[in-house]
């Protein structure tokens, strides 16, 4: 990137005159240390890339490091020296994920559509394995390479004849050298280097995963039978390259590959659960708008999302401003005490207070029902649940508005209000015509960013109602759901991950927030600073 300097002559880049003042030398020393550190980090990062033969990644890494060295050693390109650290982080952890999200939005990526077609075929064959007479039996030990509760599962399998131990996961089977394992008298592995053997209790907790794991082998797959035995069975379904289809060996039923949907489909249109990742164009976007089962709830969520953001921002602003006005008078005694106590909600950790509020709204033993002697199921009805979450936002958000409104009020000269009073304006008229417009100039940008924040206020919903109440016919989309919590449920919720679809909704959210912000920024003079 070439940088043109056209600023005032005095701040232009010029080769620093060589001198030996202490500031200069200590500055160069720091610079050399930092650049050395950069190179060291680059070298450290390069090894795994080379090992995995990620040549593109390696090339990008080398070019970036060389670029950084050049940038900080040349006296030119001064602005870039200041922008580089933030920009690199921005590209790596913000721009790159955003672009990745955008590209995912055009695919069917999600549960059942994660890998390539070949991987899908292997998975289908392995999943269809059944025990047949004469199946080879093994002693099984369940182990993991990570945490016993969450780490990836590995089957340690002992051949009863040779006592050779192999380690198997969804990628296949590989032999474990005899020296690395201890095999007990029953043939089961008691310890193996690099693996943590699960106790019976730990394995019992993950029995569903253990049952589902199939280790592909050339003739079929190895599956567990209980927690201590495994068998090598034959695949009930096999892939036939000739017809590009999956055939069931016992019933003869076939599922033909559909490249546009990324799935194997039979004559009746029924799909196999395991498919592969394909690009489906604007399918996810049109689905949001045209699928009647989705479009209706989506629009309802969108409207409520706007309502929530406006009510939260507006409510906190009105309350904060009212409070700031009330305390903006030297005649109020104890102003300092008021201020200290009133900003306390701001100092409390908001994630924890959201959970406390959730429990205060609890029907059976919540504080609010206790205090008022009522028996309201707050999160059970749409209206009360929505009222409740807005009330919580009001509590969390007003101290910030109070602080900034106090600051802005103090910046407005008192003479203005006095002058309007002398000219015969009422207190209300003076406030409406003079104080409020001046305040709005200062506070509008903050209101816009507060709106943008509340529009995507994930915690406010996820930690309180979790989207409840849900209509009986649609467990995916509740009355207090914001688009962001809805998206999160689609991507990570229990009903199967649909990353592609979730990414498409993310893009909608981005567009909505961007348009709203652009319009409101245009209406303030905020952006004009850019032109100066």
């Amino acid at each position: 990137m070439s940088i043109m300097l056209d600023g005032p002559a005095t701040t232009q880049a010029r080769p620093a005159p060589e001198d030996d003042r202490p500031g200069r030398t200590s500055g160069s020393l720091i610079k050399i240390v930092l650049l050395g550190l950069t190179v060291a980090i680059a070298v450290w990062a390069a090894f795994p890339l080379a090992e995995n033969r990620a040549w593109t990644g390696l090339a990008v890494l080398t070019a970036t490091t060389a670029g950084l060295l050049y940038l900080y050693l040349t006296p030119r390109h001064i602005p870039l020296k200041y922008l580089a650290p933030g920009t690199i982080l921005l590209i790596l952890f913000q721009v790159f994920p955003v672009l990745y999200t955008a590209s995912t939005a055009f695919t069917n990526f999600g549960d059942g559509h994660r890998g390539s077609k070949d991987e899908a075929v292997v998975a289908i064959q392995a999943a269809s394995v059944t025990q047949v007479p004469g199946s080879q039996q093994y002693a099984l030990t369940v182990a993991t390479t990570g945490d016993p509760a969450t780490g990836p599962l590995v089957f340690l399998i002992t051949d009863p004849a040779t006592r050779q131990v192999s380690a198997g996961d969804a990628d296949g089977l590989k032999a474990v050298p005899g020296g690395d394992v201890t095999v007990g008298s029953t043939g089961r592995v008691t310890s193996a280097s690099g693996y943590t053997v699960l106790t019976a209790g730990q394995a019992g907790l993950r029995s569903a995963e253990i049952t589902a794991l199939a280790v592909p082998t050339p003739g079929g797959a190895i599956r567990s039978s209980g927690l201590s035995r495994a068998y090598e069975g034959r695949a009930g379904r096999t892939y036939d390259g000739g017809c590009d289809c999956i055939r069931d060996t016992t019933t003869g039923r076939t599922w033909t590959a559909d490249e546009s949907a990324g799935a194997f489909v039979d004559a009746g249109g029924e799909r196999l659960a395991q498919g592969w990742k394909v690009t489906i164009g604007f399918g996810n976007f049109t689905r949001v708008l045209t699928d009647p089962a989705i479009a209706g709830p989506f629009l309802r969520t969108l409207v409520w999302n706007f309502g929530f953001a406006i009510a939260s921002t507006g409510g906190t602003f009105v309350l904060g401003l009212l409070l700031a006005m009330a305390l903006h008078s030297p005649r109020v005694q104890g102003r300092t005490a008021y201020r200290v106590l009133l900003v306390l909600p701001y100092a409390m950790p908001s994630f924890a207070m959201l959970l406390v509020w959730r429990d205060m709204f609890n029907t059976d033993f919540g504080l609010i029902n206790n205090l008022f002697g009522s028996d309201v199921d707050w999160f059970g009805g749409s209206a009360s649940a929505r009222l409740a979450v807005i009330l919580v936002q009001l509590w969390l958000g007003y101290p910030y508005m109070f602080l900034v409104a106090t600051g802005a009020l103090q910046a407005i000269p008192r003479e203005l209000a006095e002058a309007s009073r002398i000219d015969g304006a009422s207190a209300w008229g003076g406030f409406r015509r003079i104080t409020l417009p001046l305040l709005m100039v200062a506070l509008t940008p903050l209101l816009i960013s507060s709106f943008a924040f509340n529009f995507n206020n994930f915690n406010a919903i996820y930690l309180t109602t979790e989207g409840a109440p849900f209509p009986a016919d649609n467990p995916a989309n509740g009355a207090t759901d914001l688009l962001i919590t809805y998206t999160y449920r689609i991507a990570f919720g229990g009903g199967g991950a649909q990353y592609g679809y979730a990414a498409a909704i993310s893009i909608f959210i981005f567009l909505i927030v961007a348009v709203v912000s652009a319009i409101s920024f245009r209406r303030t003079r905020h952006l004009e600073e850019v032109h100066s």
């Binding site: 005095t10 933030g86 969450t150 509020w357 504080l367 509590w395 995507n456 998206t487």
Partner: protein
């Protein structure tokens, strides 16, 4: 008397009403934290007893100490680093004229409108690869999470700080440059000390924001030892909601301590900085 009510009385009325609204949940948390039974159903607004059982239970029965340490490290490092990175960029945008300056400023604003957590799926997938290749910055590490948070360092804060840099007279750096100061010396020795108030405010806001961040941390940190306060405390009441409520409230109070301390530490700057930020926009 009527005059007093009109001019001062209503102010106290508003103050007291809002104060009641503000204090009820806080008083509830305090009394639940010291409640000897430690359950939600036995918690009242007025303390029903005084016991430190919830606090001791928190440290002996859960990983609270560890979570606390993780949170402090992650929030301090990432807020300080992000403010520094932001100040560097703000200086370039405010004091230098270069091709792409306007586009740069606008794109910083635009990219920030795509909140990082909307890309959570992509982040999850990217870091799955990173965990395989560079475990030191992968899942369940503080360093990885800090780097991820720093991706958002250039943003609204940059705008806020640029506005503040704009208010400092240019003559300051010009005369220093005349005296032979390099651009780095102008930045570190002259301008940075002058923008200290706004640095304090943005650091405070970043600290509060990070210590409360739940969504990304929840996906990123799954090992018990790596969790931050939000992730850990959420786990405490996610399953055993009623029984652990007292411990949870005790944890909430302890979590407020670093925020209040940072608040106190930076207090003399805060009113100044918030006002300056507000008035500048």
């Amino acid at each position: 008397m009527t005059r007093w009510i009109q001019q001062v009385g209503w102010r106290h009325l508003v103050g007291v009403l809002v104060l009641a609204f503000a204090m009820v949940p806080i008083v509830f948390v305090v009394s639940a934290a010291f409640n000897p039974l430690g359950t939600l159903s036995s918690s009242e607004l007025v303390p029903t007893g005084a016991s430190l059982a919830n606090f001791t239970g928190l440290f002996s029965g859960t990983g609270f100490g560890r979570w606390f340490l993780n949170s402090i490290v992650i929030a301090s490092v990432s807020s300080i680093a992000s403010v520094f990175i932001s100040a560097l960029a703000a200086y370039a945008f405010s004091r230098r004229r270069f091709r792409g300056r306007r586009v740069g400023l606008l794109s910083v604003l635009l990219i920030q409108m795509f909140p990082q957590f909307l890309a959570i799926v992509a982040i999850f997938l990217i870091f799955s690869t990173v965990t395989d290749r560079w475990p030191a910055i992968g899942f369940n590490t503080s360093s990885g999470l800090i780097l991820l948070y720093l991706g958002g360092a250039l943003g609204v804060n940059t705008w806020l700080m640029k506005g503040f840099f704009d208010t400092l007279p240019r003559e300051l750096d010009e005369s220093a440059t005349m005296d032979g100061a390099s651009h780095a010396q102008v930045f570190f020795r002259i301008l940075l000390p002058l923008v200290a108030p706004i640095l304090a405010v943005t650091a405070l806001l970043a600290f509060i924001g990070t210590i409360n961040e739940f969504l990304i941390a929840n996906v990123f940190l799954t090992d018990a030892g790596a969790k931050t306060l939000p992730v850990g405390l959420y786990g405490l009441v996610a399953g055993e909601r009623n029984a652990n409520f007292g411990m949870f409230c005790a944890g909430t109070l302890l979590t407020a301590i670093p925020t209040v301390l940072v608040f106190q530490l930076l207090q003399r700057y805060i009113t100044d900085g918030l006002t300056a930020g507000a008035v500048k926009g």
